[in-house]
């Protein structure tokens, strides 16, 4: 059993080791390959990295609790886009014309409520029909994206509110607004998963659903809450990102679910549920963002980023399996 503890420790530390490796690698490789004058580990560069991690990061953190709970959500990208449209569009609604800048919190709330509602629909279907979350959210991914397109056709939805842009671009204690949101979500979800009854029950359900049911834990409401949470977080991610950019294309957020799942898996969350950590997912998000930036820094394009991330994901899966196999002599089936 000592062996198992050690394996677990290795797994927990792996993502941070990988981040360290990336930092060193890109700094060293950068000094030979980069055309840029500034060092890779430049403070501004790192702060920007955190900011850019926020949109996917916030969603990935939500995906972590969904996956700990034993489910998956493929519809986050579409939810993200729809919430963004609601936020930007609602600011132009005549009803709110007299609100001045007070329209900002109103539009935020509307966007967040959209996310919660879409999540609730997924959660309710998973709960009441018993259809696997993979299929439910696969369908929702198409359906919600359809709603996005029906809203405004293939045209982008734009609205710039300069107060909002100023807020989004602000830096407080050196960190960007988006970074603060990311950190707040990390803190909030960590607290939720480690300190509250809901969080602990979510772990129990993902770990051993039958045991949880037998212990009288109501599986349905917990799953529902988690789906509403990820819907909320997808919307929050949109709020954070589009407050600054002010324009959303109907295709925005496509493949976000894949990036989020990649970050979660890199962070070591078990695919079957029951194990995973919020902080490690943050590590996964940062690792991906570092990779994007680092490869860019040494002169490789997005194509290499895609290639490398895909292969790293597979490599992680492979290493994880090797670690587990060594733990016990397995039957060859």
């Amino acid at each position: 059993m000592n062996n198992e503890s050690r394996t677990r420790l290795i797994k927990k530390g792996a993502i941070w080791g990988f981040i360290l490796f990336e930092l060193v690698f890109f700094s060293v490789a950068g000094s030979y390959l980069s055309l840029s004058e500034s060092a890779f580990m430049d403070l501004d560069n790192m702060l920007l990295l955190l900011k850019q991690s926020a949109p996917i990061g916030i969603i990935a953190l939500g995906m972590t609790i969904i996956m700990i709970n034993g489910n998956i959500d493929l519809s986050v990208g579409a939810t993200y886009a729809l919430a963004a449209i609601v936020m930007l569009d609602s600011m132009t609604w005549p009803v709110f014309a007299g609100f001045g800048d007070w329209v900002i919190p109103v539009s935020w709330i509307l966007a967040l409520m959209t996310g919660v509602a879409l999540g609730a629909v997924n959660g309710l279907i998973v709960w009441k029909t018993g259809v696997d979350a993979f299929i439910v959210t696969l369908g929702a991914m198409l359906g919600y994206r359809g709603l996005v397109f029906m809203y405004n056709g293939e045209e982008p939805t734009s609205h710039l509110n300069w107060t909002l842009v100023d807020f989004a671009e602000a830096q407080f204690l050196g960190l960007h607004t988006a970074t603060w949101f990311l950190l707040a979500v990390v803190g909030g979800l960590w607290f939720l998963m480690n300190r509250t009854v809901h969080g602990r029950n979510a772990y129990a359900i993902g770990d051993n659903r039958e045991a949880a049911v037998n212990a009288g834990i109501r599986v349905g409401p917990h799953m529902m809450i988690n789906f509403m949470l990820i819907g909320f977080l997808a919307a929050l991610s949109a709020v954070v990102f589009y407050s600054e950019s002010g324009s959303v294309n109907p295709n925005d957020g496509e493949l976000f679910e894949l990036w989020a799942i990649t970050a979660v898996v890199l962070g070591g969350t078990k695919l079957t549920g029951g194990a995973g950590s919020i902080v490690s997912t943050l590590g996964g998000v940062i690792a991906i963002q570092l990779l994007r930036k680092g490869l860019g820094y040494i002169g490789a394009g997005t194509e290499t980023v895609n290639l490398v991330i895909g292969l790293i994901l597979i490599a992680v899966l492979f290493l994880d399996r090797q670690l587990n196999i060594k733990a016990k002599g397995e039957l060859k089936v």
């Binding site: 059993m1 602990r200 029951g274 194990a275 039957l331």
Partner: protein, 509 residues
Amino acid sequence: MSEQVSASVPALRLEAIVKTFPGVRALDGVSFDVMPGEVHALMGENGAGKSTLMKVLGGIHQPDSGRIIVSETPVKMSSPLEAKHKGIVFIHQELSLAKELTVAENIYLGELPRKRFGLVDWQALFDKTNTILQRLKVGFDARTRVGDLSIANQQMVEIARALTHEAKAVIFDEPTASLTDAEKTVLFEVIDDLKSHGVGIIYISHRMEEIFKITDRISVLRDGQYRGTLETAETTEEDITQLMIGRKLDLTRHASDHELGEVALEVKGLSCGSLYKDISFKVRAGEVVGFYGLVGAGRTEIAETLFGLRTPTGGCIVLEGQEVEISSPVDAINLGISLVPENRKEQGLVLGMNCRDNMTLPQVSDLTAGPFVSDGAEIAIFDHYYDKLEIKTPSWKQQAGNLSGGNQQKIVIGKWLSMHPKVLIVDEPTRGIDVGSKSEIHKLIRDLASQGYAVVVISSEMPEVLQVSDRIVAMYSGRIMREFTSEEVTEDSLIQAISGLGDNSGQAA
């Protein structure tokens, strides 16, 4: 801790419990009672209704009629949690723990102590848990992750759950199945402790020696009906068996009436890591060799090695005089070795596939007409074994999952007979099968031997090995302890050998 309950009031009383499922009357008026401080064994064949009864008591199923009375109060329970609150705790055979969570969280699963805003009150949780753990005298603490504990300690966590509420009755379902002797001793101490606190205990087990060691009374179920309660001190194994199967157990051994052939399979010094060591035995054509031992003694692992599913770390396998290497089931099948696996539903059958396709699966590549599978050839094989094994199914199109256990097992046996193996290994051939089909399968195994098959039977049921085997190999903890011929074997010597008590001198090469 617990108030002393008057000894004349039963801790738990069942009155005419009836539970039906579509087409089955699983429980048909079961009544008995458990006194405080009593260990009450519940016995019955597989399928007799024990597990249904336990699920009714555990709040998983609701009875159609009848009453459950806990210390004079009739109770209705709609969930396991409610059962626990009413004072009935069920300790599962298959551990139902969340391995990633701490011991404390598992013990209070579903009812974590709360502070305001849905926060977990960790201080209270750990304090309460540690109090219970101290009472159980275990060597781990409340913050340990359950996945880091040994199986026996995980079981202790299950038991600790029983102590979170003032349990009136605790149900143990085959608790010793995966425990070592030392761990068993601890378990029995815990049961004694519960007894002394006036808890009534229902103890389900097939192991006679345990039943006689720790229980006070024994109730027997058969075909969903209550068959009577015996005082343990005044009863014998035969009385119990008779109640369980409704007749005197037929222990006549099927002596071989045919000449044995050449040695078909010889295993020399086979080892596989820590699973088993230095295993040597021979099986001749026409002979049935029984492997008897407790679960975990290494018998199934030997079979899996012979079938190419495990890589041995030492020793060799000789088939008809030729040393062979078996690195996959395909190799084994090509060499003429077949395995009817231990777990029919997980290893034996594709439950969603029809009976015929299941039966012809290993040779489907050879049953072709042109590029396609030949329907006629498949049906011919199915029909042959349908008649020979007397399989009861409306048609070959029936999904294997819809058949009864006995008929499922016959499909698996038919599957391997149709491969005409030289060596047939049968692992737990009658697990979960009703009494009628059991004796049919036993007869079938004897018939196969007389047709010249070399047969290895692995079983945890003593009557079974005694009945079908020409020789019996007794295993304990990964080693062969003794080998018996059917003339010399006695139940006592067999039990001694598989508990690690027998001498090693009888080990034959």
